[in-house]
């Protein structure tokens, strides 16, 4: 089936949705032939998320009902019959008419066999078959999650009625049997499941992950780092993808890398301080300059713009690469200060990013790996990067720029990767629990006395963990009350804990009188 596709604003779509059917003023003309009435709209240039039905307009239109695409002079006006949300279709999945691409032409024709016009409002991405499966299970009294329904829809659709029924019955019972039991001590199980394989992990801090040239902390030290919610990881690193339109271009990659790498003066130049005539001579080293893509002009502008260089005299020596700098006041102290300041003067790049390396990965796509991380600045400053695919292993940075839900997922992902890389099988549910517990308060809390354990409600539990005396004495001072709800404190006083079989009471009432 054929569709017209163009890029539009979300704002326009919401307006159209409210007003449709209504006329819509476009700032371009639709292709004359073939005539197509179905339109796909993309708002982000990556995937089409709206489906419009349009008609040609003939005759007069009421200006007041008109919706305009832009403030530009309209070129054509169409009648929008309906607007519907669809399951996002990636643009790459669409077949573009030969030679056409969305970025070049404002509008073009694409082909796709069929459009799943499932509304987003509907249950995630369930198709009819999956929905039917869920209904079939419900008939038998089972509730199954969508993920299972989708898996089943691909696998058990075409069985004979009898087999189908039997499978539903079996899978339904299996599923409900596999559910967790109430009062199960899932926290302890999670802690054991992560802690137990710790003894089998390597201590080697450095390992070559993916990129051979870059070091990343792995194994036990990394796992400890994650649960500690350390503010700065020992080896911060980012993975950066470029936007779809640039991702295969090596020029774009080179440009981005140049913008990324934080280059200081000392990285590309030699410094020479002359105490006799109170000057500092900067000698750019050619191959280092080349390696870091720095030109002499850039160097000088950077020096001029630098705040520490204020008031100093910067002279470039004619006929030579050298640059001479004099301090504002003729004093040795200032000279020394200037020398130290010069060493760390940033010429270009994003602060915190020491090195950047690019590698071609599957499908000829460039991926940039960095040593050092600065999520916010990279996302803000560099236009070519695809911020939907950017990644950093610095959890604190993720928290600060993307928020608590993002860092929850990052904790999950990082701990999963760390364990997987060591070849250890740990169920995702345990890691989820850790991530959820660490982020439950709205901020990232470490596992340990500074975080989760230090904030327990019970005085005795805190005293039993670490810094015993302080907790007891403070409790006395403030008159704290230990409600004896948790595990540690009940063990201390010698009572059954409130988990597992200790959470339920079975009372034998004896025979009632008339039974006797």
């Amino acid at each position: 089936m054929r569709y017209i596709i163009w890029k539009d604003l979300k704002k326009n779509m919401t307006q159209l949705k409210k007003r449709a059917p209504c006329p819509y003023a476009l700032d371009f003309s639709l292709p004359e032939s073939p005539r197509v009435t179905d339109v796909l709209i993309t708002t982000n240039g990556k995937e089409a998320a709206y489906h419009l039905k349009i008609e040609e307009i003939s005759g007069e239109i009421d200006e007041s009902t008109l919706v305009k695409k832009t403030s530009k002079k309209p070129k054509q006006i169409v009648m929008v019959r309906s607007v519907s949300d669809i399951m996002p279709v990636e643009l790459t999945k669409l077949k573009f008419k030969k030679g056409a691409s969305l970025s070049k032409d404002k509008v073009c024709i694409v082909e796709r066999e069929k459009l799943d016009s499932v509304s987003k409002a509907d249950l995630f991405v369930l198709d009819d078959r999956a929905k039917k499966i869920i209904a079939d299970f419900e008939k038998k009294g089972f509730t199954i999650p969508h993920s299972l329904a989708i898996e089943l829809s691909q696998k058990i659709g075409r069985f004979k009625k009898k087999d189908y029924e039997r499978l539903i019955e079996r899978i339904g019972t299996d599923f409900s049997r596999n559910e967790v039991d109430p009062h199960e001590a899932v926290g302890i199980i999670a802690a054991q499941s992560i802690g137990e394989p710790g003894t089998q992990m390597t201590m080697r801090t450095f390992h070559f992950a993916g990129v051979r040239e870059m070091n990343v902390t792995l194994g036990l030290p990394r796992l400890i780092e994650i649960v500690d919610a350390r503010k700065i990881p020992s080896t911060p690193s980012m993975t950066i993808y470029l936007k779809k339109e640039y991702e295969k271009s090596s020029e774009a990659v080179e440009k981005v890398m140049r913008e990324l790498e934080n280059t200081t003066l000392i990285d590309v130049c030699d410094l020479e301080t002359s105490v006799a005539d109170l000057t500092i001579t900067i000698t750019p080293v050619e191959n280092r300059m080349k390696e870091r893509f720095v030109t002499r002009d850039e160097l000088i502008t950077a020096l001029r713009q630098s705040r520490q260089m204020k008031g100093t005299i910067i002279e470039s020596v004619e006929g030579s690469e050298k640059i001479i700098i004099r301090p504002q006041n003729e004093s040795f102290k200032d000279l020394y200060k200037l020398q130290e300041a010069l060493k760390v003067t940033t010429i270009k790049g994003v602060s915190g990013i020491k090195r950047a390396m690019a590698r071609k990965e599957s499908g000829d796509v460039w991926v940039i790996y960095t040593q050092g991380s600065n999520l916010k600045e990279v996302m803000d400053k560099i236009e070519e990067i695809d911020s939907s695919r950017i990644y950093t292993n610095d959890l604190n940075e993720i928290y600060n720029t993307l928020g608590i839900e993002a860092v929850r997922n990052a904790i999950l992902l990082e701990s999963k990767r760390t364990l997987e890389e060591q070849g250890l099988e740990v169920d995702l549910r345990h890691l989820m629990l850790v991530a959820d517990m660490m982020t439950q308060s709205g901020g990232v809390r470490a596992v340990g006395r500074q975080g989760i354990s230090g904030n327990k409600k019970s005085v005795l539990a805190r005293a039993a963990f670490e810094i015993t005396a302080k907790h007891l004495l403070n409790a006395g001072l403030t008159g704290e009350i230990d409600p004896l709800a948790g595990v540690a404190e009940n063990i201390i006083v010698g009572q059954p804990v409130t988990l597992g079989t200790g959470a339920v009471n079975l009372i034998y009432k004896g025979f009632t009188s008339d039974e006797e």
Binding site: L167, R212, N455, A464, A475, G479
Partner: protein, 886 residues
């Protein structure tokens, strides 16, 4: 044995003791520093006064009249001559002094400010919110008050107070005495206390300056009488003696008007003793020492740390009815069993209450005495003690057994010795996961070790090189029921860590199953019966008749132990992990395991089928048929394995690694080539011709390149070696089947050991510029940096041997560091997560009621019951239910 409803502690309130309270609960005012008189009798009003409790048998407590074990002990008190500050509250005292007016005692905040802060503080104090949040608020408020230099209430000029650590306060260089401090604290009105996070009903600030010292009961600080009759006092008593002495001297000096200097010195000394009485590790104070020079263990030291009261006596406890001994393997036991030595069984007992239903049987049991045997001389349980309804215990001996069996009546309890079928807990430390402690049924065996089936080694992480394990006998019906239903080995066969089996065949089990099923060998009837006789199977498979003789196929024999109607389909381990094309790949017959209706049709049973972690058969049997069928399968499989190996015979030795001369020489030439290549690289490097890899220095590039070369040769030599070692070689059988070792290890023995490494690179430490003194400085060649060209079989030359040891050392150090680090991580994890549980709505909540997850793991599936993480194994279910048609 108490019965009925027991009391439950609902909550514990904490508060400070006021001087009045200390005096009120005191039974005696202690005034003499002495303990016992010359006759060894406690001195009245001394530190061992009889009012404080009794610890010597024969004496009675002067307060409650109780004997030893009846009297809980009682407090006394010491009136200090002059007040001293409580070291543990020094920071809080400072806070109070800073934030309040030295003249009027009010907090240095305006009335408006006080009004503004109070509601928030009230809320924080009473909502039992975050302790940290409260602390932050208090600090904010008091810091603000402390910054005022003029009191907003009485306009008095304030002076800055400096804490001269550890216990002295100075105001403009002049010492502020504790007496003065106490007076100032007394002036603080009750209303202002809320802003300090305090409640006058719980604690007053002046109570932090001590005027009376509580004297703990003697049960807390018992006197130890040595074998020589010498008495030795507890550290706390020593400290209290010091305090009383100095307090007395101070009082005398003060009363007879001694110079101020002397009084001050004595006062400081009193402060020192009281401080060290509380905490003998205060920074800035030399610890008080015993005569022998050992630092005294005072109050804080008793509570703190791993050996302190909390972690070693309150969170963890010593128990009775337990036993510990060396373990050894016993393949003829079920996985659910544990073999208990007779000596142990005679000592450990189970309480049995006497009722009208069992009284005859119990009498019979008691009559047997403490060490009965049946007619054939086998162990039968006896009785060690009988307990009267008033809890008096009577020891049963051969002499009194007869009489006591008559005396027993309903309401008594007897302590019966262990017998076959009792459930006990079995444990190996470190207890890293819940499978480290499982329920076993008792089998009484001779000799002196605990024994169990080898399939249970994995969950306990046990081997038999001298490991010891603990055994606990459960003492009540509820515990036994829980152990049977929840903790029994067969219930724990799937690990909650990854949802796969943790119990399964190891080493010889795998080898045996491999030999039995690989290429489906034929066995004579005699051999077959011999094998099957190890298993409780009562029929033979269908025979194959050749020349009138009956033969049986290996896979048919294996099928005997599979449950009826069992289906499975998976790939054997055979080819997994081999690089490139595996020589066995084409033999689908051997590679693909196909089990239909309890019959193994094709495939080799090996690691992938029956081992812990990956064993598909064990996992699927458990899921489909439940714990008892699964454990029966493992029992039979482990027994069959022994049967098979007894018939076939299996051994390994150094001659497994014999390879022909031409293979040896080709390995040698490969390694020579490698050395040449490395030398070439070094040459290039030294000539400055080596191109650095992106982002690397030339030095690093050289190392990376060399490591690449050495890795390559090792692989090559391994290939050459394994080309000559086929599946008829026992070592190869073990490696291929996954029973033990990897092909790499075989190539190390037969071919070449390869590059030794430290920290992921070649060895480059030791002497300056060289690893061993046998090399020239700056030699970075292959041999000088730990490239071992010999094989283990041929032996390493001395230089190689030393370099190999350097590489090996890293592993040892690593393990040592790792265990402590990961142990601490696990302790923190457990502590942080211990309170989480699933509630009735299947949400994850903690014990104080906060919700952590709305659905556990997003789908509410128990990982222990899941199929390696997935809710249901759809493919297997379809295969199992519908069969091939998919």
């Amino acid at each position: 044995m108490t019965s009925g409803i027991s009391k439950k502690i609902k909550e514990i309130r904490f508060s400070l003791l006021s001087p009045e309270e200390i005096r009120r609960m005191s039974q005696v005012k202690i005034i003499t520093a002495d303990t016992y008189d010359d006759d060894g009798y406690p001195i009245e009003k001394g530190l061992m006064d009889l009012h404080l409790g009794v610890i010597e048998p024969g004496l009675r407590c002067a307060t409650c009249g109780g004997k030893v074990d009846e009297c809980p002990g009682h407090f006394g008190h010491i009136e200090l001559a002059m007040p001293v500050v409580h070291i543990e509250f020094i920071k809080e005292i400072k806070r109070f002094l800073d934030a309040t007016c030295k003249v009027c005692g009010r907090i240095k905040l305006t009335d408006e400010e006080i009004k503004a802060y109070k509601p928030r503080m009230y809320e924080l104090m009473h909502s039992k919110a975050d302790v940290e949040l409260l602390e932050i608020n208090i600090k904010k408020i008091t810091d603000e008050a402390a910054s005022r230099t003029i009191c907003p209430h009485c306009d008095a000029q304030q002076t800055k107070i400096i804490l001269d650590k550890p216990t002295t306060f100075r105001e403009e260089g002049i010492k502020v005495t504790p007496k003065e401090i106490r007076e100032r604290l007394e002036r603080i009105p009750d209303e202002d206390l809320l802003l300090f996070g305090m409640d006058e009903k719980v604690a007053r600030p002046e109570w932090m300056v001590l005027t009376v010292l509580p004297v703990p009961p003697i049960n807390v600080r018992p006197t130890i009488t040595l074998a020589t009759g010498e008495r030795s006092e507890d550290d706390l008593t020593h400290k209290l003696v010091d305090i009383i002495r100095i307090s007395q001297r101070l009082r005398e000096s003060r009363d007879n008007g001694s110079p101020q200097l002397i009084i001050e010195d004595l006062w400081d000394l009193l402060q020192f003793h009281v401080t060290t009485y509380y905490d003998n590790q205060t920074a800035g104070i030399p610890p008080a020492r015993h005569r022998s020079g050992r630092a005294l263990k005072t109050l804080v030291q008793r509570l703190k740390g791993k050996e302190g009261r909390f972690r070693s006596n309150l969170s963890g406890k010593r128990v009775n009815f337990s036993s510990r001994t060396v373990i050894s393997p016993e393949p003829f036991l079920s996985v659910n069993d544990v073999g208990v030595p007779e000596v142990v069984a005679r000592e450990l007992t189970v309480p049995v209450s006497v009722t009208s239903f069992n009284i005859d049987k119990v009498r019979e049991l008691v009559k047997r005495g403490p060490s009965p045997r049946d007619e054939s001389g086998r162990y039968i349980p006896g009785v060690n003690y009988i307990v009267r309804p008033d809890s008096r215990r009577i020891k049963i001996t051969d002499e009194n057994a007869e009489i006591n069996s008559e005396r027993i009546d309903v309401g008594w309890t007897i302590e019966r010795q262990l017998m076959e079928g009792d459930i006990v807990l079995f444990n190996r430390q470190p207890s890293l996961h819940r499978m480290s402690m499982m329920g076993h049924t008792v089998r009484i065996l001779s000799d002196r070790t605990f024994r169990f089936n080898l399939a249970v080694c994995t969950p306990y992480n046990a081997d038999f090189d001298g490991d010891e394990m603990n055994l606990h006998v459960l003492q009540n019906e509820e515990a036994r029921a829980e152990a049977r239903i929840i903790m029994k080995v067969e219930e724990q066969m799937l690990s909650p860590r990854f949802g796969g089996p943790i119990i399964g065949g190891i080493h010889d089990h795998i080898t045996a199953m491999f030999l039995l099923t690989h290429r489906n060998p034929r066995f004579t009837e005699e051999d077959t019966i011999n094998m099957i006789s190890y298993v409780d199977v009562d029929h033979l498979p269908d025979p194959e008749i050749i020349d009138g003789k009956k033969y049986y196929r290996g896979r048919d024999i294996f099928s005997l132990i599979l449950p009826e109607g069992f289906n499975a389909r998976f790939s054997s381990k055979l080819c997994a992990g081999s690089e490139g094309k595996c020589p066995y790949e084409d033999r689908v017959e051997d590679k693909e395991v196909y089990i239909r209706s309890g019959k193994l049709l094709t495939g080799t049973i090996d690691e992938a089928a029956i081992s812990p972690f990956s064993g598909v058969i064990i996992e699927k049997i458990f899921k489909k048929y439940g714990p008892s069928v699964a454990s029966t399968f493992v029992d039979r499989m482990t027994r069959l394995a022994i049967g098979v190996l007894n018939v076939i015979g299996f051994t390994t030795g150094i001659h497994d690694y014999d390879i022909p001369e031409d293979a040896v020489s080709s390995i040698r030439s490969v390694s020579k080539e490698a050395v040449a290549k490395i030398n070439k690289l070094i040459e290039n490097y030294q000539a400055g011709l080596l191109e650095p890899l992106p982002g690397r220095s030339v030095d690093e590039t050289l190392e990376i390149e060399i490591l690449g070369v050495t890795g390559e040769v090792r692989d090559q030599s391994g290939k050459i070696a394994s080309a000559h070692l086929g599946l008829n070689n026992p070592s190869v059988i073990m490696a291929r089947s996954g029973a033990r070792a990897k092909m790499l290890n075989i190539s190390e023995v037969a071919g070449m050991v390869g590059q030794q490494s430290v920290r992921g690179g070649r060895i480059n430490r030791g002497y300056t510029g060289r690893t061993l003194s046998h090399f020239e400085k700056g030699d970075i060649g292959a041999e000088a940096r730990g490239f071992v060209q010999s094989s283990y079989k041929n032996g390493l030359n001395p230089l190689e041997y030393f370099l190999h040891s350097i590489g090996g050392r890293e592993g040892l150090v690593d393990t040592a560091v790792r265990t402590s680090r990961s142990g601490y991580m696990q302790r923190r994890l457990i502590n942080a997560f211990e309170n989480l549980k699933i509630d009735e709505k299947r949400r994850v909540v903690d014990t104080s009621g906060s919700i952590i997850q709305f659905s556990y793991g997003e789908d509410g599936i128990d990982p222990a019951k899941s199929d390696k993480g997935r809710a249901v194994d759809v493919d297997y279910t379809i295969f199992d239910e519908v069969g091939e048609s998919s």
